[in-house]
């Protein structure tokens, strides 16, 4: 079947025009019965004008104008020749390793997973590899933990393997508490067996016969599908005793997390499985030496584990070809915020933020000006737009004062206020702090008070010094990662957007219009066409007036929602 797929990827809206033109000209040429001309909803390419894809042949043309249509029909369709000037060399920037089966297989059918090379990794390992060899492969692969820290997975496994003990444990950390993150949920819901297989391989390697999947209770579907996967794996003899006839014993159970962010921290998580309060413990000893019930415990993130079967099946060397110098493989990100395509993406390490936002995300919403991207959630920071060409890996993000984190990525535009953002993340950490240690408990609250003052125009410049001082005390003296990193969003916005802090403190303005005490909406009478749209849209009736007298915003009544600002077609509402 021959297909012509059309989509205007912006900024014009010519899909329909080019589509009609193709149909008409093909009819004139008597060729319309051979071709299906179709309008795509999304063609996977952005900002390249009208994109036309021709199948078979996979020819992609960009910036197609009305005049080009005839030429395409004559040259490409009739003579089978490409048109160089229009050609777009397009490469899909996503690579699917972790998400290899998500959206492909039925997660509730173990046979589907097996059909995609599932359980080949554990089979190979049990039949051909001793634990040292697995460690070697993992080392060659260069896989590092995807739960945020980026610790080499082979090393963690090797520590646990090195301890002589009657019992050891494997834990899968599926607590995923970062606001805006849902990578792990998607993997568990879309391909639970890959995580199970990863845990089995880890178990064999370190000598553990028991594993726990720690899943947050707010993920009922993930829990249900994991339980089904475990049941099926048991029936098939992949869990239990003498697995695949190789003398290896391993079984798994699910434990539910009650949704406290701090329970995602490994020592708190372990305490929670032990039935204690989910409070972090000082490290060392690290869990790989002394973890669950005092036994050596490997605790890995969902995404880390989902990588493992593929690494063992295809080899560590294969894996290490993907990614950057220090960070191998791919990373799954939940791309959200002011981006066209809110989506779950998997990209090779080393890709730039610009490629992520524009080539995959399709650019910013509503043609607004992009400001920054937030990575790493409450423990991370912001990267401003002028640094978007930075290749994404653990080291680079750290250098910029952010972190890879678990994979939340929030695009921010001119309407996002950096003080407001810091307040949001810090507020989250203060709320979620377990309160065990003073730097986090007291420092966090202090920081939040200062930020609140800044957002209300009540702060002075000396408060900025206090911000930095308290932040650095929290980084140094907090017991766990939550407190140590809680100030990161503050420090990072302060580093890149000091001007915004100044604006709030000195000029008492919030350019983004988020800090409601620091700006107001006003109607610019010269620009106002007296259409009355603002009045009809104001939810609190704060805009009296009529078509003759004009309109005014009553500041006492205005709740600064910005509806009038958004709806005015004449830009007659000023902020």
């Amino acid at each position: 079947m021959k297909i012509i797929l059309i989509k205007d990827t912006g900024p014009t809206e010519k899909t329909k025009i080019i589509y009609d033109l193709f149909n008409a000209l093909l009819r004139d040429a008597g060729m319309h019965a051979d071709y299906q001309v179709v309008r795509a909803a999304d063609i996977g390419i952005y900002g390249k004008g009208v994109v036309v894809k021709i199948f078979p042949g996979d020819i992609v043309y960009q910036n197609v104008q009305e005049d080009d249509v005839n030429n395409i029909i004559d040259t490409t369709l009739k003579q089978n020749k490409p048109i160089k000037d229009l050609r777009l060399d397009f490469q899909n920037k996503q690579i699917r390793i972790v998400l290899r089966n998500c959206g492909v297989i039925d997660p509730e059918k173990i046979d589907d997973y097996i059909g995609q090379d599932g359980y080949q990794g554990i089979k190979k390992v049990l039949q051909k590899f001793d634990p040292e060899k697995v460690i070697d492969e993992m080392k060659t692969s260069g896989l590092r933990g995807r739960g945020g820290g980026g610790f080499p997975t082979w090393m963690k496994w090797n520590f646990a393997r090195g301890v002589e003990m009657d019992q050891k444990y494997i834990i899968c950390n599926a607590d995923e508490g970062d606001p805006g993150a849902y990578m792990d949920r998607s993997v568990l819901e879309g391909d639970p067996h890959s995580v199970l297989e990863g845990m089995m391989i880890a178990g064999y390697t370190v000598g553990a016969s028991k594993g726990y999947l720690y899943i947050r209770a707010e993920y009922p579907l993930a829990i249900e599908r994991c339980q089904k996967a475990i049941d099926q794996a048991r029936v098939y003899g992949f869990l239990g005793e003498n697995i695949l006839g190789c003398g290896f014993n391993f079984d798994l159970d699910i434990r539910l997390g009650a949704g406290a962010f701090v329970c995602g921290e490994e020592t708190a998580l372990i305490a929670s499985i032990e039935g204690k309060r989910g409070c972090p413990q000082p490290r060392p000893p690290y869990p790989s030496i002394k973890g669950l019930w005092g036994k050596p415990t490997v605790i890995n993130n969902v995404e880390t584990l989902a990588n493992v079967p593929v690494i063992l099946h295809k080899g560590g060397a294969w894996f290490s070809k993907i990614g950057s110098e220090t960070s191998k493989g791919t990373k799954v990100f939940a791309l959200t915020g002011k981006v066209q395509n809110s989506s779950l993406i998997e990209v090779p390490m080393g890709i730039t933020l610009r490629e992520i936002v524009f080539d995959i995300g399709g650019g910013v919403l509503d043609n607004k000006k992009i400001k920054a991207i937030q990575t790493g959630g409450p423990s991370g920071g912001v990267v401003p737009e002028d640094l978007f060409d930075t290749p994404v890996d653990y080291e680079n993000l750290l250098k910029l004062g952010s972190i890879m984190g678990s994979g939340g990525m929030i695009v921010m535009d001119e309407d996002d206020c950096m003080i407001d953002i810091s307040k949001f993340y810090l507020g989250f950490c203060v709320e979620e702090s377990c309160g065990k240690c003073a730097p986090c408990r007291i420092g966090g609250t202090q920081l939040l008070n200062i930020l609140t003052d800044i957002s209300e125009g009540k702060a002075t410049m000396s408060d900025l010094d206090r911000l930095t001082k308290i932040s650095s005390a929290m980084q140094k003296a907090s017991l766990c990662g939550l407190g140590q990193s809680a100030a990161n969003p503050v420090l990072s916005t302060l580093k890149f957007f000091k001007k915004e802090y100044h604006g709030h403190i000195v000029e008492k303005t919030c350019q983004a219009g988020k800090c409601s005490g620091l700006f107001k909406y006003e109607i610019i009478q010269k620009k106002c066409k007296r259409c009355g749209l603002c009045q009809r849209n104001c939810p609190v009736g704060a805009i009296p007036g009529d078509k003759d007298k004009g309109y005014l915003i009553e500041q006492e009544k205005c709740i600064r929602c910005g509806r009038c600002f958004d709806v005015c077609k004449f830009e007659a509402v000023a902020r």
Binding site: M1, A41, D42, G103, S186, G245, C246, S343
Partner: protein, 115 residues
Amino acid sequence: MSSSKVNIDEIKKNINKKSGDWIKVGMSTCGIAAGADKVLEKFQEEKERRNLDIRLEKCGCAGMCYAEPLVEIRVKGMPQVVYGKVDAKVVVEIIDRHVLRKQLLDDHIYNIKVQ
């Protein structure tokens, strides 16, 4: 050493031998939130009503949150297509046009694989 309960390679061979037409609906939290369960129901209903020989399957999330509910479809003689923003009305269109008349739908294609 005793032998294992199942033969992985045998299962793999069998599952990949399965041919025929299928429709997959993305049924993860995100898809369901966008109405994927109703889409699946509607497909089921239409399939029974019209006595269609097509497998209906569930799958996880393909990642295109902005286009949920997502449906992937393979029908003999047609390219493999991902349709997005599918609702009950679009389901009927998919059956009428894509499945029965072998015509692609406008404005809902999010991905297309031509063998």
